[in-house]
């Protein structure tokens, strides 16, 4: 089952175009949305949240149409954004009294538990909180509203490793509930190396792939070796290659093929998401240049 279904989505700005985009986000899993800066991650999230209107296409969340059924859909979504969506001049408790009535399933006990756990005082002014604390507060609001779908735009950006670990711990705890879905955009791919089930990779406004992380890590291989092996045929097997004075490093499309090709003649490793992202973008740029 899909929590989110996107078909033929298009959004055009003067300097950037997103789409046409097709995308499924599966219910019960963590989907990571990755891509270089300017790939369209935030644009896509804004469209999903109805914060910006699409030029064309269709968005269904929980099987219901956006933006027509926006109010009903949004009551089931918790949105955590890099940009602070809370009122700076209010105290946490005053913010709660504005926020809570919008959520039918608001759970006051969950909210108190979250504040305790995140070491936030209801009396604190939102303005006085650090970036990490604001992020925790956003998460507390999202969780207390009984969100079935958490949409998080760069929730770990600019946060220290201790807090990022805590956040991942919280998120993996949420996934004990198989009805819950998390869509999580980030450019810190190490956050996703472990807990993400599916990876959506956006580049230049289009989806490069949307696959389970297991499949990605099974399929791709990171090869390091001597440049003398790189003839034209061998190059075809790579998504992207980086050559230096000491050798080459490249992402091979098919692990089995790479093992047959290089055998013991090269180092064959499992790539990280960062490797996959880096070489894919590099390869695309390279092909775009050679076409030009």
């Amino acid at each position: 089952m899909n929590a989110i279904e996107v078909r033929g989505l298009v959004k055009k700005y003067s300097s950037f175009a997103l789409g046409s985009l097709d995308l499924n986000v599966r219910q019960g899993y963590v989907t990571g949305l990755v891509g270089p800066n300017g790939a369209g991650k935030s644009t896509l999230i804004k469209l999903l949240m109805g914060l910006s209107a699409a030029g064309a296409g269709e968005i269904r969340i929980f099987g219901e149409q956006m933006p027509e059924q926006e109010a009903g859909i949004k009551a089931r979504i918790g949105f955590v954004s890099e940009e602070n969506t809370l009122y700076e001049h209010l105290s946490i408790d005053a913010m709660r009294s504005i926020y809570a009535p919008f959520y039918k399933r608001w759970d006051a006990q969950t909210f108190r538990d979250c504040l305790n756990r995140f070491e936030l005082s209801p009396r604190s002014r939102i303005r006085s909180l650090s970036k990490g604390m604001k992020m925790k507060l956003s998460l507390a609001f999202a969780l207390s509203g009984g969100a079935e779908l958490l949409i998080m735009d760069e929730p770990t950006a600019g946060l220290d490793p201790v807090f990022r670990r805590e956040m991942l711990e919280i998120l993996s705890g949420l996934m004990l509930d198989e009805n819950r879905t998390i869509l999580f955009s980030t450019h810190i791919t190490t956050d996703l190396d472990r807990i993400a089930d599916y990876i959506v990779f956006l580049d230049r406004g289009t989806v490069v792939f949307n696959e389970s992380k297991e499949d990605l890590f099974d399929r791709y291989a990171l090869i390091k070796g001597d440049k003398k092996w790189l003839d034209r045929d061998v190059r075809q097997a790579f998504v992207g290659i980086r050559e230096t004075g000491t050798g080459f490093e490249g992402l091979a499309r098919d692990r089995g093929e790479a093992i047959r090709m290089f055998g013991d003649g090269a180092i064959i490793e499992t790539p990280t998401l960062e490797d996959i992202m880096y070489f894919t973008v590099r390869g695309e740029r390279h092909r775009a240049e050679s076409r030009a």
Binding site: G28, Y29, V30, L168, E169, S172, G173, M175, L176, E178, D193, R194, I195, A196, D197, Y198, S212, K213, E214, F217, D218, E269, T270
Partner: protein, 128 residues
């Protein structure tokens, strides 16, 4: 059950889990009928993806080591004692083969290798 996974080993995480659980079952540490943590609980504890733990459990099911009952969870298979014995015998044979090979490369005859095994067994008994 203790499971540690390594991010540095290069072995896929699902296969590390399979190896660890298989080892625990074959050694008898996990008795038939023992309930395993749920897929989602294990994913949370190890902070890994649900699909990774799902894949590990599917692999263990395919090997006949665990049974999954919808709505109840996954259990160490009770119907596999003969299979486990078979697996352990095979593991022993692998080690014996290694010993025989090593003996031959030292120029020992098969009889001499067997002689060594007897000797070690007697020593083991007098120590124990």
């Amino acid at each position: 059950m203790n499971i540690q996974i390594s991010n540095a080993s290069g072995e896929p995480i699902y296969s590390q889990i399979v190896g660890r659980v298989r080892g625990a079952i074959l050694s008898g540490e996990l008795a038939p009928g023992t309930m395993l943590p749920s897929i989602r609980q294990l994913a949370k504890d190890l902070q890994i993806s649900v699909i990774t733990t799902k894949r590990a459990y599917e692999e263990l099911e395919k090997e006949g080591l665990i049974d999954s009952v919808v709505g109840k969870g996954s259990f160490v298979s009770g119907a596999n004692e003969a299979f486990i014995r078979e697996q352990r015998l095979r593991a022993m044979e692998t080690k014996l083969l290694e010993a025989i090979k090593e003996g031959k490369s030292l120029g020992l005859s098969l009889e001499e290798v067997i002689g060594h095994i007897r000797l070690l067994d007697q020593e083991g008994e007098s120590e124990g």
